[in-house]
């Protein structure tokens, strides 16, 4: 176990260097006069025109060899300097901090239905293989992968906002955001639902939840279908193991065999994949937040991309990349804890 975690930790810097190097090499696709925008911390320096840009290229060492450039850039990253975001009109690092709570809130409420419903339905379809319930979940799962997030989101808005008016886009209604932005309301976390509870304001809580229903549904549908299928096949594989036959042969009730013997073991691969899947949801936030007008990281990135706000989009990618790296680490280590066999490898 110790060796396993040590190897994993030793690899961490390699991966982090690799991730930053990949992003850095990708920026080489554009010329130095464009790349210089990554280094700017104050938009006014651009006002000097072409001559000023050349001076900046020299100042930030863009005429030096590529490895020197990489080292310089890395040094700035380590110091939290990600450049100036033209689309958000603030430093990229500050913008990431500002938009993080909305995305964190969306992710928080998406993860639970995905993992628990997925595992539960997958268990049921595995036990009832090829019966009608299995066929139904199979169809739901396959349509889940085939349904683009942006089509699902728009259709949901059309019906539940356009027709019924139940679930509006955005994060809060106008009256609620006025309260949230007022001095009497303390924003502890930036997650409106949690802040509302901490402030004891139930109307705000209800309003925030009302705005979360559609985006959560949209974002979770595809991932939920995937976990369901993985749980199902893991269940099928476990049910064919000898120890399950043994458990049945010694006369244990079927309920105990399924829940105690089979399900616990079937959960092992699902646990790893759920961890990664949940992180994989991050990609979907770009589309979901754009459709539902949630001012989070994903929408910030989408707007930055369209407006060619290079520092913002790179900062965003690095941020998501780093979250993924650390999430992978946690998943791997906890996998070692759940499944004793991994420790002896």
């Amino acid at each position: 176990m110790f060796a396993f975690i040590t190897r994993r930790l030793l690899l961490l810097p390699v991966i982090l260097i690799g991730v930053t190097l990949l992003i850095f090499l990708m920026t080489q696709l554009v010329g130095p006069s464009v790349r210089v925008s990554i280094y700017i911390t104050n938009p006014n320096v651009f006002k000097g025109g072409q001559g000023a840009i050349q001076k900046l290229e020299h100042k930030y060492g863009l005429d030096k060899p590529i490895w020197v450039q990489y080292a310089n850039w890395l040094d700035r990253l380590v110091h939290g300097n990600l450049g100036w975001s033209a689309s958000a009109r603030m430093p990229v690092a500050q913008a990431l901090g500002k938009y993080l709570p909305a995305t964190a809130e969306l992710a928080l409420y998406t993860i639970w239905p995905v993992v628990f419903l997925g595992i539960w339905m997958g268990f049921i379809s595995g036990v009832h293989q090829d019966q009608w319930i299995d066929q139904v979940t199979r169809i739901i799962a396959i349509t889940g992968w085939s349904l683009p997030i942006f089509v699902l989101g728009l259709v949901l808005l059309m019906v539940f906002y356009g027709l019924f008016g139940w679930f509006p886009p955005g994060r809060l209604s106008l009256w609620a955001s006025q309260i949230v932005n007022s001095a009497s309301f303390h924003n502890y976390t930036g997650l409106h639902t949690i802040d509302a509870i901490l402030n004891g304001n139930w109307r705000i809580l209800l309003d925030a939840l009302r705005h979360l229903v559609l985006p959560v549904l949209t974002l979770s549908y595809a991932s939920w279908a995937l976990i369901l299928r993985i749980m199902r096949s893991s269940m099928l594989e476990t049910l064919r193991q000898d120890y399950v036959t043994t458990a049945r042969a010694k006369g244990l009730p079927e309920k105990v065999v399924l829940k105690k013997h089979a399900r616990r073991n079937a959960l092992i691969p699902v646990a790893t994949i759920s961890g990664l899947m949940v992180v994989g949801l991050l990609g979907g936030t770009v589309l979901t937040e754009t459709i539902f007008d949630i001012h989070g990281l994903g929408r910030f990135a989408a707007q930055a991309a369209v407006q060619f706000d290079l520092p913002a989009i790179l900062g965003f990618a690095l941020f998501y990349g780093f979250i993924m790296v650390f999430a992978n680490l946690i998943v791997d280590v906890s996998y070692g804890l759940i499944d004793p066999r991994v420790r002896f490898e």
Binding site: L11, V14, I15, G18, V19, L22, I23, M26, T27, L29, V30, Q129, D130, R138, I139, I142, T143, W145, S146, L147, P148, I149, F150, V151, L154, V155, L157, M158, Y161, G162, L163, S233, L236, E237, R240, V279, G280, L282, G283, G284, V286, L287, T290, I291, A301, A302, A305, V306, F308, L310, I313, L314, F316, A317, Y320, G321, M324, V325, N328
Partner: protein, 297 residues
């Protein structure tokens, strides 16, 4: 002889399983649409992928005789866009998947066959490419390359190959220890010959399954990038872009909340059915080809 048997049994099962049969029907339908596109529409421009416009008003027009599926924002004909968008979808799906299979299988085979430091480097490279959410990575790449359909395809290839590399590596590791590969090596076969003649043919079925499903998911991601405004030029027949045209019109009017339903539903249906077709076939493929699942039904 044995191979032929496997093949004919696979085809038989694909045609008798109701779900995969629907998938095959859907894919065939889109192939027909793509082939007959010039005969069922009237192209107006030299570049036939540019959708003809009927005026410049922004408000969509409902289906009529001259526009069977209506027009979307900017008076682009929806029927024309869907028909020619089918060709765009096939081009994206087939080219991107060909690219990622080629890169992934090559790297995976090299890593698995040679092992050691080569394996370590290739697999760490795979990890690094897998670090970014696919859509995010592709987005960054397209921003750096500049918007456009070809750049979208390049971005999807650059960040799409890792699954194949991992899978093929694992298969090659398992297969190269089997006796017949050792026998081939003892007979003096070269590395390349062993990889291509003896190892890869035995590891190729899972690639088949994965690539079938990837055709759908690549079209989906390309459409997502177009939806965000990073895809093809404005007016190009492309399903994702047609959905982004529809974005401002999902609310309809006070009297009729669904007044502009056709702007979302038709292009949306095109994407869903196209991707669904490939997923249904891929899902059935997996059940048929995965030997571990064979005894279970």
């Amino acid at each position: 002889m044995k191979k032929k048997k496997i093949r004919s049994r696979t085809v038989h099962k694909l045609l008798t399983n109701p779900l995969s049969f629907i998938g095959i029907v859907l894919i065939s339908f889109f192939i027909v649409i793509a082939v007959i596109a010039p005969w069922i529409t009237k192209p107006e421009y030299a570049n036939r992928y540019i959708i003809p416009r009927d005026g410049y008003s922004s408000t969509p027009q409902p289906p009529s005789v001259s526009h069977p599926l209506g027009t979307t924002e900017g008076q682009y004909d929806i029927f024309y866009g869907i028909v020619w968008g089918t060709r765009t979808a096939f081009r994206i799906g087939l080219l991107v998947v060909a690219g990622i299979v080629l890169i992934g299988v090559t790297l995976g085979a090299i890593a698995g066959y040679y092992g050691g430091i080569v394996d370590e480097i290739i697999m760490r490279l795979t990890d690094i490419f897998l670090t970014f959410p696919f859509l995010v990575a592709a987005m960054v790449m397209v921003v750096l390359l500049g918007r456009g359909l070809n750049h979208v395809m390049i971005a999807l290839v650059v960040f799409g190959w890792m699954g194949y590399a991992r899978m093929i590596r694992g298969d090659v590791l398992a297969i190269k220890e089997i006796d017949y590969v050792a026998a081939a090596r003892a007979l003096g076969a070269s590395d390349l010959r062993i990889i291509f003649r003896h190892v890869l043919p035995n590891a190729i079925y899972p690639v088949f399954v994965m690539s079938t499903m990837d055709i759908g998911s690549m079209v989906l991601t390309a459409a997502a990038l177009s939806f965000l405004g990073l895809g093809s030029q404005v007016g190009y027949a492309d399903w994702g872009q047609m959905i982004s045209f529809a974005r401002n019109w999902i609310l309809g009017t006070d009297a009729n909340p669904f007044a502009y339903w056709y702007t979302v539903i038709y292009p949306g249906l095109a994407i869903v059915l196209f991707v669904l077709g490939w997923n249904l076939v891929g899902d059935a493929f997996r059940d048929i080809l995965d030997p571990r699942m064979r005894g279970s039904r």
